[in-house]
């Protein structure tokens, strides 16, 4: 429609120019240019259709050889370091197989307690009373089968270190309230929290003994959480803290080297009673 109009206009001006020889070519060009530009502007393009989808990156695709060749030396070096067998998982360990405590969470917290306590004890003369980590910090499942150093990297890719904070019983109770309210299976070890069916705190035990509000407890956690990660504000109340400079990942690797089988269980360390 637009272009028909323009052609009519052109025909008109052509007729006109042939009738009136006085009109200069230059004027004619100016008119044409104006007409053409105007017509283009008039038919400005507009968004008319959107199509969206997800395309899987799956086994149908052949790897790009150039990329593959580029990655190869990096991969070889990493594999050399990571792929020797350390232990065995008889089943898949995940952070989603329990409500308030899980196999992966229990494993992580127990490993931190077992591996960091001798270091802490040798440096301070004190024992770690319990461990708190965060559910979000477990970054991968442990697939059934062989466990290697790579497994530890997958579960704990962060360069997080184990720190031990001294917290009063009062701060620990704040922590317990946080754990109750979060409703997430944040990994704990050495601490037992039982909620009634209405999520009231029924009992809190540390190393099997009821919590004492005025006692100071030695709580192992990650530097990430001590520095305010996951909004665990109760760590701000720490009387003092010691960074062991021991990577959580290295604690896992050291633990895997010591054991043959890794088979953590969902237990009663953090539960909500049904009635």
């Amino acid at each position: 429609m637009c272009s028909t109009n323009v052609k009519n206009l052109l025909a008109y001006y052509c007729a006109k120019i042939e009738r009136n020889m006085g009109l200069k070519i230059q004027h004619f060009v100016t008119i044409i240019t104006f007409v053409v530009v105007y017509s283009c502007k008039d038919s400005k393009i507009e968004l008319s259709e959107i199509k969206g989808k997800e395309v899987p990156v799956d086994s149908v695709l052949v790897s790009n050889a150039q990329i593959e060749a580029f990655v190869k030396p990096y991969r070889n070096r990493v594999n050399e370091v990571l792929d020797s067998t350390l232990a065995f998982a008889p089943f898949t360990i995940t952070k989603t197989d329990g409500e308030l405590n899980t196999t992966a969470g229990n494993l992580m917290a127990d490993v931190v307690l077992a591996e960091a306590n001798p270091i802490y004890k040798s440096r301070t003369g004190n024992n770690i009373d319990f461990v708190l980590l965060n559910h979000g910090g477990i970054r991968s499942i442990i697939s059934k089968g062989t466990i290697t150093s790579r497994t530890a990297y997958e579960v704990m890719p962060f360069e997080n270190t184990i720190v031990v904070a001294e917290l009063t019983g009062k701060s620990v109770l704040e922590m317990v309230a946080y754990l109750r309210d979060s409703g997430r299976a944040h990994p704990i070890s050495g601490l037992q929290i039982i909620l009634d069916h209405e999520s009231n705190i029924k009992s809190v035990k540390i190393q099997g003994k009821p919590i004492e509000e005025n006692k100071t407890y030695h709580v192992a956690t990650s530097n990430y959480l001590l520095n305010g990660g996951d909004r665990m504000g109760f760590f701000k109340g720490a009387v003092k803290s010691l960074n062991t400079d021991y990577l959580i990942r290295n604690a896992m690797i050291d633990y895997f080297k010591k054991v043959d089988t890794v088979a953590p269980k969902v237990d009663d360390r953090f539960i909500k009673l049904k009635n």
């Binding site: 323009v6 052509c14 042939e18 507009e46 259709e49 150039q66 990096y74 305010g228």
Partner: protein, 303 residues
């Protein structure tokens, strides 16, 4: 003499009519345009395809396979942008061993056009991110992280405009609140600004000042939260006017298809996120036509 002039003029006018016709045709045939947006998010250093014995993602992902896929789509439509919504770093030993060098080099080889910055991209500190900048042959975009007085100050832009086949595409970045998520020692003096206010300012600049035909947000805010006060991609969509597409990250949300949501002007736009670890590639195709006078129907969206 007079006759010669007449002949000259008529032939010239005939030529001009021809030219006019030609340029008109060209104007008409160029009016159908097609832009393809490809995107990833939360790749988290997943360079290799998942092994065959992986419990969840066996044989999925892998940069070399993604490269093949991207190449084939670019052959189909050269007017393609490849974008990433952050958390490029952290998740495999490649990051622990090489600090993100390989991730940035590979993204450059795949010809990524732009990426935004995720919280995990600070995992080796702001200095660790800065150290990898020489390997990034693509733009780092963030409109709501203020890097003033940090080493990143000169290396991050709020937005970038891409011109593809005459279509002006404005892409801006948004990042999640760092306080409480990333250790302060890692992000240092980086300041987090209100993502909605910044998004509204930036999209207005892109639409009104820069006259972009398409406005895309690369967001690492997260798809959706139980707490409505926490900024998410869905609430961002409801708070923006000109943004046509929000490409999200952070929450590792696997959607079966992009979500159609209404923006502040009740216009339907797309929010998309493709899970994590390079398992999927998002693909959004935009088709432009010559606007017909009095065209009644709106934009057709197929997902």
């Amino acid at each position: 003499m007079k006759r010669r002039s007449f002949i000259k003029n008529t032939s010239a006018s005939a030529a001009l009519v021809g030219l006019g016709g030609l340029s008109l045709n060209a104007c008409g045939s160029n009016s159908n345009k097609h832009i393809t947006i490809l995107h990833t998010n939360d790749v988290h250093s997943h360079i290799d395809t998942f092994p065959t014995d992986h419990s969840r993602y066996a044989n999925l992902g892998g940069v070399a396979k993604r490269a093949t896929l991207v190449d084939s789509i670019r052959k189909e439509n050269p007017n393609t942008l490849l974008l990433d919504a952050g958390d490029i770093f952290q998740g495999t030993p490649y990051f622990n061993f090489y600090g993100g060098e390989l991730e940035f080099k590979l993204m450059s080889m795949l010809k990524y056009d732009a990426a935004t910055i995720g919280n995990h991209d600070f995992d080796n500190g702001i200095d660790g991110l800065f150290a990898q900048i020489p390997h990034a042959n693509f733009e780092l975009l963030s409109a709501n992280y203020d890097f003033t007085n940090t080493v990143m100050e000169e290396h991050v832009k709020p937005y970038r405009i891409f011109m593809l086949d005459g279509i002006k595409i404005g892409v801006y970045g948004l990042g999640i609140e760092l306080n409480g998520l990333v250790t302060k020692r890692l992000y240092m003096e980086t300041e987090y600004l209100d993502p909605f206010e910044i998004a509204q300012d930036t999209e207005t600049t892109l639409k009104e000042t820069e006259a972009c035909d398409l406005v895309i947000c690369l967001s690492h805010l997260g798809y959706e939260y139980k707490s409505e006060s926490k900024p998410s991609d869905l609430s961002l969509a409801a708070n923006t006017r000109y943004t046509d597409l929000i490409i999200g990250g952070h929450t590792h949300t696997f959607l079966d298809k992009p979500t159609i949501v209404k923006n502040k002007l009740e216009r339907e736009i797309l929010v998309n996120q493709v899970g994590c670890f390079g398992i999927n590639l998002g693909r959004i195709d935009f088709y432009f036509d010559a606007a017909m006078n009095g065209k009644a129907e709106g934009i057709s969206i197929t997902v």
